[in-house]
Symmetry: C2
Subunit: 111 residues, 2 copies
């Protein structure tokens, strides 16, 4: 039995699988294999969110997320904390996406 | 300028993009194009989470998530509520994945 049936996965199920795979790719490197140490977290952020963090239009949102994560931090990030981080970044990214399209509409109206 | 650069996206960024794309695929069908109506939510759950909801080992976890979502419900699900749903399902899925692997280890030890 396979835990994940990637062949029949929907778009949303693929996204869920990619998040689980990403976490375990880094969490298994040292210490508890089901949590991210600070070194593993830093490696994950640099490798996986380099494009996003480098190009982010809303630096404040990103720094707020980092601060929130540090607040809970016992030196290890578990899967739930990882999902909260990814969820918050995705909401920030979607807000930017929606505002960008709303600005498009406004620009079209005033033309 | 493109909002998403899918060519250079990391695995995690791809997952984030897939979640945003999935939401807007259904939210644009009727009414407010940035929220899911009940009909749009039902269509999304059936089409995107049919495999997961059909095969889920932990039905209680799934029903708890649905109940939590209904609790906040004004008949429309916004992107943040959608991400909370997907995040909770992903955590439940990861818990199952980790327990499955821990059971493997236990089984190997007692052999």
């Amino acid at each position: 039995m396979s835990t994940f049936n990637t062949e029949n996965a929907s778009t949303l199920e693929s996204a869920m699988q990619l998040m689980i795979q990403t976490f375990h790719k880094y969490s298994g490197n040292e210490g508890d294999k089901y949590t991210l140490s600070k070194a593993e977290l830093k490696e994950m952020l640099t490798a996986e969110l380099g494009n996003y963090l480098g190009n982010a239009q809303d630096k404040d949102a990103v720094e707020k997320v980092m601060g929130d994560l540090d607040g809970n931090n016992d030196g290890e990030v578990d899967f739930t904390e990882f999902i909260i981080l990814v969820g918050a970044l995705t909401v920030a990214c979607n807000d930017f996406f929606q505002e960008y399209h709303q600005d498009d509409k406004k620009a079209a109206k005033t033309e």
